[in-house]
Structures are given as C-alpha cells and as structure tokens.
C-alpha cells in the first residue's frame, strides 16, 4: 500500500507546483510582481529489511513542498510618459501608509497624486515619508531620491524641494508576507525595515518615467508546467501499477 501513498505525495506536490505556476503566469504583466518558486524535499525513509549481506534496505515515503520562496530579482524596465511612474533599480522597497496607519511595502511605483496633492499608490496609500505636490506642479525626482516640483511662474519656472525618498530594506526580503495588490507586510522573519537613502547599501536608485515589470519569465513557467504535468502523470502511472498488482494479489484467493 505504501506505493500508493508515496505516489500520491508526488501528485500533491505537482498540484501545488501547478497552482504556483498559474499564479506566476497570471501576474506576468503585474507591475512589480515577484515570482515565487517552489522547492521540494524527500520525506522520511523506512527500513523494510536487509539484504543477505546485512545492508539495510530503505524505502522513501515520497515528497513534500519544502518552500515557496519569492524571487526578488528585478523585472524589466517599462518606460512610460507619466511623471508619477517610479521604478526602483536596486533592492529597496517603497514604504506606503494605509488609511489605518499601517506601513506596507511595495515595488510597484505606479503612483498618482490625490485630490489633496499627496503622492499615493493607486489604492490611495500615502507614499512615505509623504510628499505634497503643489497644484500645477510637475513632479521631478533625482536619481539620489530628492523630490521636487517644477512650478510655472511669471518669470519662468521654479523648482520647489518637497523632500527626500527613503527606501525600505529588509535583512531577509524572502520572508516578507505578500498582502496582495502588490503590497508586502513586514514579518519577524523578514526583519526590521531599515530606511535608507537611495544609492546607499544596495537600496538602489529611483527612476522616474519607468515602471518595473514582473520578473516572470513566461517560457520558464511553461517549461515548469510541462515538467509538473508529466511528473503528475508518471505518479498516476505508479498508482495504476500498484493498483493492478493489488488486484492480482486479491485474485489469488478464489
């Protein structure tokens, strides 16, 4: 009977793999999306006897999903013509504050300016540390993260400084919790967010008029999908064979 359960763990693992691939593919055009990759490990081994020479004979009991880890490598640059489209070229995150005061983190720099002039995410979460853009001003962001607004005045144009971007960095970003809609929540395992100036400690620079595409490689996902499907099929063949053998065994007694 063990063969049935062992093969079933294989089918289960392939199913989780497929679900993960489906999510990566579904988000292949989501700004700032980071793909997740599943890893597997074998289960415990049981001794079923020994050879005449006394060597133990061990049978494995299948596989399990060891982790679903997020790959935080950068996605492709998508150039836009929108001054509030920002991209981080580096490892940092934008810190944003929700209406109930919670700080979340995102790689999605597709921002907008709300009615009060605040720079916010599409959901209206305020980009930290908070920038107020004067009416009629054009947002300008330096590669060092300095934020200013260009205002048209009677005698030409004038630049007004609005502050400085701070990037959030985590000791272990892979342990961040995905909260959906491109946001991440800090966790104990991810560590305390460290706010640093752009261009320091690998946080990267802020690029204006650009968005970060998803880092999903569609071809890679499709190959993984084929592999998962075939592997699922093979495990089902094992179940079929074990079942046939049990039928034979049962037919012995008439």
């Amino acid at each position: 009977m063990r063969a049935l359960y062992t093969a079933a763990t294989g089918m289960n693992a392939r199913q989780i793999q497929l679900e993960n691939i489906a999510n990566n593919l579904a988000n292949s055009t989501t700004t700032g999306y980071k793909k997740t990759r599943e890893t597997f490990a074998d289960l415990i081994y049981q001794q079923v006897g020994g050879s005449p020479a006394g060597d133990p004979m061990q049978l494995g009991s299948g596989t399990r999903v060891a982790s679903l880890s997020r790959d935080f490598r950068s996605g492709n640059v998508i150039v836009t013509s929108n001054p509030t489209d920002l991209m981080i070229d580096g490892e940092g995150f934008f810190a944003v504050e929700t209406p109930n005061g919670e700080t979340m983190y995102t790689r999605d720099g597709h921002f907008r300016i709300d009615l009060e002039g605040n720079l916010t995410t599409q959901d209206g979460y305020i980009v930290q540390p908070g920038f107020q853009i004067p009416e009629g001003g054009t947002l300008m962001i330096g590669s060092d993260g300095s934020v200013s607004a260009l205002l048209q005045t009677e005698n030409g144009s004038e630049s007004v400084s609005l502050g400085q971007f701070e990037m959030a960095r985590f000791p272990n970003p892979e342990a961040l919790m995905a909260a959906g809609r491109n946001y991440f929540r800090a966790t104990t395992a991810a560590g305390e967010a460290e706010l640093v100036q752009p261009q320091t400690g690998g946080a990267g620079t802020v690029i204006q008029y650009a968005l970060e595409g998803a880092n999903v490689d569609v071809a890679e996902e499709l190959i993984n999908m084929i592999s998962a499907q075939r592997s699922y099929e093979l495990s089902s063949k094992v179940i079929q064979t074990a079942d046939e053998m049990m039928q034979i065994a049962a037919s012995l007694k008439r």
């Binding site: 063969a3 693992a13 005449p52 000791p171």
Partner: protein, 217 residues
C-alpha cells in the same frame, strides 16, 4: 509447499521495487535527489532484493542565475549544521545572515561553522567552493565532503562517513535536478508488475497441483 513461500518472497521483492520506484517518481522535481535502484540476487531458490543503492550520476543543471543557488558536480555533498549532508544547493540568506537551505538549516564552511553573509552584499562562488563577498572579500569556503555508505534520511539530507571531497565542483546560479530518470522508472514499473504477475501464476499452479494431489489421495 516450499515453492509457494519461495514465490512469495519474489512477490514481496517486486512489491518493494514498486514502492521504491514510487519514491523516485515522486521526487523527480526535488533538487539534489538521487534515484534509488534495487539490486536483486537469488540465494538458492529465492529471488530477493539485495538492497538498494543510489545512482551517483550528476543530475541535470537547471540554471536560474540566483547567486545563492549552488549545484554540485562530481562526488560531493554540502555539510549542514544538523550534522547531515545534502546535494540540494537551494540556499538563501536568513535573518541572521547565515546561508541556509529551504528548511532553514545552515550550510557549514570547511571549519564546520555557519557561513555568515553581509546583508545586501553580492557573492561569487568559485568552483572549489570559495565564497567571495563583493565588498568584504572572502566570506568562507564551503565544507564539501565525499560520503561513503551514503544513506538518505529525508528533507534532501543524507548521512554517511564523510571524507574531504576531492573531485567536487561548485556551480553558482544553478540547481542540480533530481537524477531520477522517468523512462527508467516506467520500465522498472512494467518489469516489477510482470514479475509480480508471473509469481502469481506460480502460486496458482502450485495451488492447483496441491488440490489435484488431495483428490488422488
């Protein structure tokens, strides 16, 4: 009626064989997994499994350019902090800065100490296992061992008697695919089920002969 029991041991061996293949197939996507193979022997009349051995051929390289993913070529295992050894180089840096596997177990250097990374630092790993940090210089050298009597214990871990690895080579930015061969798995399944079927025929024939004998008497 020795023949029935002789046959039974053959059936059991075929059954264990299927169970073994089942584990190989289930772990076809487990990186660093090594395929189990069964050796059969006959002592007198009994066909019995003579133990399981493991295919030590290198699995295919899956290149993913992730700098903390390491693949081994040749005879070698990574030393892990829980005293086990592993071929699975699916590593990442944990909160404390240690290089760890998917289960959070630290990889050891050649001094049997965890390998401490500096946050945000990029690393390069040479084929002989020396890890160089982009700003801090040499971070350590992987404690690679060669195992005799290697036995899997699950969680991609192995036990065995370690000795310094002489021929192992580390490849950065890649994982070693399981070396289980699906085609071989399917052939083994067919083989085992046919052997099982044949044993069944022997048991049945022997049973019929006994029934006939009973009628004569």
């Amino acid at each position: 009626m020795k023949d029935i029991y002789t046959t039974l041991s053959g059936s059991l061996a075929a059954w264990h064989h299927v169970e073994m293949v089942s584990n190989n197939v289930a772990n076809m996507n487990t990186s660093g997994f090594r395929e189990a193979r069964m050796a059969f022997s006959t002592d007198g009349q009994m066909a019995r499994p003579d133990g399981i051995f493991y295919n030590s051929a290198d699995g295919a390289l899956i290149v993913d350019d992730n700098p903390t993913h390491l693949a081994l070529r040749g005879d070698g295992f990574f030393s892990m902090a829980n005293g086990s050894y592993s071929r699975d180089g699916n590593f990442h840096v944990d909160l404390a800065g240690n290089l760890v596997n998917s289960d959070g177990i630290a990889v050891l250097n050649d001094q049997n100490q965890p390998i401490l990374m500096r946050p945000g630092e990029s690393i390069s790993v040479s084929p002989d296992g020396v890890i160089i940090g982009s700003s801090s210089g040499q971070v350590g050298k992987l404690g690679l061992v060669s195992l005799t009597n290697a036995t899997p214990v699950g969680g991609t871990a192995w036990t065995g008697t370690p000795a310094p690895a002489l021929t192992a080579e580390v490849i950065q930015g890649a994982l070693e695919h399981a070396n289980a061969d699906p085609l071989r798995g399917m052939v083994e399944l067919i083989e085992a089920s046919r052997i099982f079927e044949a044993q069944e025929k022997v048991i049945r024939t022997s049973d019929e002969m006994r029934a006939r004998l009973n009628r004569i008497a």
